[in-house]
């Protein structure tokens, strides 16, 4: 019965006219298509020699990446479970699939039942297809047997075993493209399509129309299939998948692996919370201690201030009037000696004094403070110098921290832990109108709010997107900001940390509860496919860390210079003092901070992190630090995330959130100040 239902188009090749025949002159388009977590991007990286962000959770490849391969255009697509328009990823993938000639369908050999559904849909679309059976190495490890040859016979297309880890089968990728062909289609389905194809609609589009895709139907101004039609086709296809899998897959042993067991344990709060705590402690030791204390201490103080800034500033002082205070500290950071050098005509004019300065400031524990009278020298090389301060902060403070952070994020993503965390926290998120999926944009927000704003797209409804967008802008500190907060808090003791966490958590809970009550509509329930747990591939983790950190620095660097330049101009022209005076009542009486803290708020509008970085210069008590970082954390998002937020959520919602953060930040910050200071 099975075989009666299927006709082989290799034998009756004139029955179907494939889309590609009429466009032979154009460069052929090859598209990599597959479910999430099948290793498409890995294969794309190999074929194009280009790096694509590879992630172990859905939603990261929302756009299409294009490259070329043996004189053909090559495209990577987001992971999808089927071709239709259920969400943005599917819409994006659908367009490129319809427009392409050859489809390389990447299949996870461990999840054939899930993945072959898409394979059969692609074949039913009448496209030329080849299948890559990826994770072939994992099958052997797990003692599963897959009859690849029979699978190829049943599907009617080439099936090639591949494994990303040792590039097995990668040498046959060209063969897969050259031998892609139209596979075995369901006969009854084909008759259903014929009616539409007679109106000279391509087979692919006919199938989508029949499966109820409104967008495609609208294009031809004909009614799309009903939900019943779609369901009939889907169930038929599902049954065929199950039949195929029954025939080709044999399992030798059902033993789970240790990682699978850890995966199970991390789902239930009883065992999952200790696992989460364990992971957070590891992260704390890695980022909070190793990176932000030991590494940054070396890069910022020794390399940044000691080597880079000292030499640049000393060089500038050769030519311009300067006063230099040199303080000598012992190993316990106590001041033991202090000397002031004055060069009214620049160091070059005073050979003896200049030499004395050089040897005095070269002592261990010496720290030099340069003051220039020339406004330009101050703008570029002074305390807030566009060149000196910016480069120290960017390269020697932020960069190591951001690398550390992205490394941890990449490890968590690639291990398959995040979807399990999403599952464990599902019920908690339900209370504020979200489902566990929301954990993904929120976790990403701890990396970069701008990036996280884009991933809110993977949430199921508009109200969920609005709630998460607000949470991200109001309460979540990004990695750069976290970096500065960590450094500020690490000197202040435990109490400020607890106050900070308590206040931020309270705002988070209040904000999301209120939004859940106010926003209309209904939230979607969780339906999440859990990838296999495993040790992340270090190569991929490092690549991801490298590209994301670099991307971050490129994006942040520009705004950092802009911010420093603005502050420098404000300082020299006296605008900074005026601003400080305007905000003074708010800063000094309500927030109980020194009035210079107002600088931090100006800077914070450009980038949140140098809002916090601006606090370094002030000598604050530990409770003042707490108030300051609470205010800065709740304060407006950086310019980049503001722009992306408006693009994603519209100007009205964007502005409401932006002004909302002003009010909340000063209100809550002040409230805390009145209580604790």
């Amino acid at each position: 019965m099975k075989s009666d239902n299927i006709i082989n188009y290799d034998k009756i090749n004139h029955v179907l006219v494939d889309d590609s025949i009429e466009v032979i002159a154009r460069k052929e388009k090859v598209v990599l298509v597959g479910n999430p977590n099948v290793g498409k991007s890995c294969i794309f990286n190999y074929m194009s020699g280009m790096y694509v962000d590879v992630s172990n959770f859905p939603g990261t490849t929302i756009s299409i990446t294009k490259s070329s391969y043996h004189n053909k255009e090559l495209y990577d697509t987001p992971g999808i479970y089927g071709v239709s328009s259920f969400n943005d990823e599917e819409r994006v993938a659908k367009e490129i699939i319809l427009d392409s000639e050859i489809i390389i369908n990447v299949v996870n050999a461990l999840h054939l039942e899930r993945d072959l559904f898409l394979t059969l849909q692609l074949i039913d679309m009448g496209k030329k297809v080849s299948v890559l059976l990826n994770f072939a190495d994992e099958i052997k490890k797990r003692k599963i047997k897959i009859d690849t040859k029979q699978l190829a016979d049943l599907l009617g297309v080439e099936v090639i075993e591949t494994a990303a880890i040792n590039k097995m089968g990668f040498d046959k990728l060209k063969f897969a493209i050259d031998n892609a062909r139209v596979g075995n289609q369901q006969l009854d389905l084909h008759f259903m399509l014929q009616n539409l194809m007679d109106k000279s609609i391509s087979q692919s589009e006919s199938l989508l129309i029949l499966e109820g895709d409104e967008e495609t139907a609208k294009k031809y101004e004909i009614p799309n299939g009903t939900p019943d039609d779609r369901e009939k086709i889907y169930i038929g296809r599902r049954n065929r998948v199950n039949e195929i899998v029954d025939q080709i897959e044999y399992e030798d042993s059902k033993k789970g692996e240790i990682f699978n067991r850890i995966g199970r344990l991390s789902l239930n709060p009883k065992t999952g919370l200790p696992i989460l705590a364990f992971i957070l402690i590891l992260v704390y030791f890695f980022i909070g201690d190793l990176v932000s204390q030991q590494i940054v201490d070396f890069t910022e103080n020794t390399l940044g201030k000691g080597l880079f800034e000292y030499n640049v500033k000393s060089f500038v002082a050769d030519f311009t009037p300067a006063t230099i205070n040199v303080s000598i500290y012992d190993e316990q950071e106590n001041l033991i000696d202090l000397k002031t050098f004055n060069f009214p005509e620049g160091k070059n004019s005073y050979t003896n004094l200049s030499n004395e300065f050089s040897s005095y400031s070269a002592q261990p524990g010496a720290s030099s403070d340069f003051h220039y009278t020339n406004p330009l020298a101050r703008l570029f090389f002074g305390e807030f110098g566009v060149i000196t301060m910016t480069i120290t902060y960017l390269l020697f403070l932020l960069f190591p921290l951001v690398i550390g952070f992205y490394f941890v994020m990449a490890m968590l993503e690639d291990s398959g832990y995040l979807p399990r965390l999403a599952t464990m926290l599902d019920r908690t998120f339900n209370k504020v109108g979200l489902n566990g999926r929301a954990v993904i944009p929120i976790m990403l927000g701890f990396g970069c709010i701008t990036m996280a704003n884009i991933t809110t797209r993977l949430l199921g409804s508009e109200r969920e997107k609005s709630i998460v967008t607000a949470i991200l802008q109001f309460v979540i500190p990004c990695s750069a900001q976290l970096a500065v907060i960590t450094v500020l808090l690490s000197g202040a003791g435990l109490k400020p940390l607890l106050v900070f966490i308590f206040v931020i958590a309270s705002v988070l809970i209040t904000l999301s509860t209120v939004l859940n009550k106010l926003l209309p509509g209904e939230s979607t329930p969780l339906l999440l496919d859990l990838p296999i747990m495993g040790i992340p591939k270090i190569n991929n983790v490092l690549k991801k860390t490298y590209y994301r950190s670099l991307g971050f620095m490129k994006e942040a660097g520009f705004w950092f210079f802009v911010g420093a330049f603005a502050i420098g101009i404000f300082e020299i022209t006296g605008i900074l003092t005026i601003w400080q005076d305007i905000l003074a009542p708010l800063t000094t009486t309500w927030l109980k901070l020194p009035k210079e803290a107002a600088n931090a708020f100006v800077m914070g509008m450009v980038r949140r992190d140098f809002g916090a970085a601006g606090l370094f210069h002030l000598s604050l008590t530990s409770m003042q630090i707490t108030v300051a970082i609470i205010t800065i954390t709740l304060f407006v998002p950086c310019i980049a995330s503001f722009v992306v937020m408006i693009k994603e959520r519209g100007i009205k919602e964007g502005l409401i959130v932006w002004f909302g953060t002003w009010i909340t930040a000063f209100f809550i910050g002040g409230l805390v100040a009145q209580i604790v200071i």
Binding site: L110, N430, D529
Partner: protein, 75 residues
Amino acid sequence: MPNNTLDKAIKGKTVTIVNLPSGNIRSQLIRLGLTEGGTIKCIERLPGGTIVIQKNRQEIAVGFDLAKKIKVILQ
């Protein structure tokens, strides 16, 4: 026995799906491998009712509100 829903599934036990909810979610469930008449194993029941099921090697988390709408026969 009748009128049971997936949220009542017992950890470690197998259930047979009798009826899936309608709408887009139905198509998504079918694509993930869940069909009426198909059997799945409940591998975890979280406090609050989120259910984790297994279909062959594939593990799928189903939120409480969705689980309540999936009619099953407990075995």
